[in-house]
């Protein structure tokens, strides 16, 4: 197992669009089956009349969560290649409050308005028009609230990283909270009768509990390290580029290669012209410059093993030419940047970086990026509901 299948766009744009269409069809069909084509059902939750929204949503979250974290625990899926959401805490809380207000006012949320529209509801169509207008309002006034929108950035924390507990514990905890919430609403819907609740608990409750326990067991007992998956086999045959050779390429001003830097931004030593990348941003076509198949990629991490080899292996699988930097950035520092490194290529690179010519006077300024990579678009990962 080697999930996600589309890591680094192995599937190509057309296939991934087709899959998106299929996913959308399934999504729309189950939303409709759940009753979300009706604003009365959707708004019902906010008046305590109808708890379908809670039941459908939490069952879906628990199912996908247990499935995904279970697969990760078994080592089948590389979690660092799943597009996690960045957290901007206060803007997201404000956005959530406003979305709730809009939801109860409109009777639909953006996704369900589409289902309502195709069910023949005119009000749903009006909601869709409103959503597009509202996005327009946000874009028009971006200078007013753009600063707030970008504030409170926390990286990509998860509940487990925030609480400092293993993922399996959170998986089980969420499953148990779901059972608690389901039991509570069923209890009230069945006229506060415990007797009527018992057969329900036997079926739905035990199914959710078993799922949560399985998810936790796989998370804790499984290989855990998602990277175990690619470490066997396919990441071992990745070609390596020697640091001195890379230094020579940069000094020569070659433009047929791109250095992908997987390290945290600002990590030392800095590499001239390297493109900062995360595996997740490689997944996102919109964040990623157009990659040419002719271009050679040099993937750099602190060391060459692990993540760098995996990313290079995935790029190779995707039909790109890729290699790791032998020894990673640390080896580059030792063999090229260290003043003791006597090789002429290392010396030439150091001169290029420091901007000093050995013949006195300033050398031509280190042309900003020898790799001519298109500018990377900034942090636009979640454009609305991405």
């Amino acid at each position: 197992m080697n999930f996600p299948l589309n890591a680094f766009h192995q599937l190509g744009l057309d296939t991934s669009l087709l899959v998106s269409l299929l996913v959308g069809i399934g999504f729309g069909a189950f939303l409709e089956q759940g009753g979300f084509g009706s604003s009365k059902v959707l708004a019902g939750i906010f008046y305590g009349r109808d708890w379908r929204v809670l039941k459908v949503m939490f069952t879906a979250i628990v199912t996908a969560m247990v499935g995904l974290y279970g697969c990760a625990g078994l080592g089948w899926v590389a979690m660092d290649q799943i597009a996690f959401k960045s957290t901007y805490l206060v803007p997201q809380v404000v956005g959530g409050l406003l979305l709730g207000i809009g939801f109860v006012t409109a009777g639909y949320c953006p996704g369900t308005s589409v289902v309502g529209m195709v069910s023949g509801k005119l009000d749903a169509l009006v909601v869709m028009v409103g959503v597009i207008l509202g996005i327009g309002v946000f874009e028009e006034g971006f200078s007013l609230w753009g600063g707030f929108y970008e504030s409170n950035y926390m990286g990509e924390p998860t509940l487990q990283s925030w609480l400092g507990v293993p993922a399996g514990v959170v998986v089980l905890g969420v499953a148990l909270i779901a059972i608690g919430a389901f039991s509570a609403v069923e209890y009230f819907e069945r006229g506060k009768s415990l007797a009527a609740l018992r057969p329900w608990i036997a079926r739905v409750g035990s199914a959710v509990a078993c799922a949560g326990l399985l998810g936790m067991a796989f998370q804790i007992a499984g290989p855990g390290e998602a990277r175990a998956m690619t470490a066997e086999g396919n990441a071992q045959n990745v070609p390596e580029l020697q640091p001195l050779e890379l230094a020579a390429w940069i000094v020569e001003g070659r433009v047929d290669f791109t250095v992908l830097d997987l390290r945290e931004s600002g990590a030392q030593p800095a590499l001239l012209g390297a493109l900062p990348m995360t595996p997740a941003s490689l997944l996102d076509l919109r964040q990623r410059p157009a990659f040419s198949k002719e271009r050679r990629f040099v993937v750099v991490d602190d060391h060459d093993a692990g993540l760098a080899a995996e990313v290079a292996a995935a790029l190779l699988r995707g039909g790109y030419e890729a290699s790791t930097l032998a020894g990673g950035a640390q080896a580059f520092a030792a063999q090229v940047l260290a003043p003791a490194a006597r090789d002429s290529r290392a010396a030439a690179y150091r001169i290029l970086v420091s901007g000093e010519s050995p013949f006195g006077g300033a050398a031509p300024a280190p042309s900003a990026a020898p790799t001519k990579a298109p500018p990377q678009r900034q942090k636009k990962k979640s454009t609305g509901c991405s």
Binding site: E32, F58, Y69, A106, D123, V127
Partner: protein, 184 residues
Amino acid sequence: MNSPRQVGIAPLPGAKPYLSPYLAGLGLGLVLLFSFLVLGKGLGASGGFGRMGALVVDRIAPEHIEHLEHARGLVVSEVPVLKDGLVFALVGVAIGGFLSALSNRRVATRPMVERGPTTSLWLRLTLALVGGVIMGFAARMGRGCTSGQALSGGALLSLGSWAFMMSVFAGGFGFAWFVRRQWR
């Protein structure tokens, strides 16, 4: 006041009852899991709306879009603005929802507006528009809506997504009293 049992049944004659919410949720969760395992990301709805809006602005007033940082980024790209997974997924939602509604006889034969027995048509449509505008704004501010943040981010256990989801419920329950008349 309706009894809770009757509320979920669509008012159309001949319409079949909805699927058990737990089964519908299971199906939805499996679709989401499929998306994670194949595409490496979850679902989303408002992103597709944004791209459609950007396309409209680009066609009507291409010089204006130069002022909109984010929308310009969507339009000025090697890939056409609608050739995007979010847009295709949104089209899929329409297709899937329609097929499901059709096969369960839940498609209204004439366009209908759901509202309370004493609610005027214009009140309901006005609230639908105003609510939609608020949601469009909110989905951009919160970086997603109920599908992208609450559902997909919730299943990933993202901290921001859970904060968002709790806020949606807080906002909805807190504001419900003010718009209760549209269902009476």
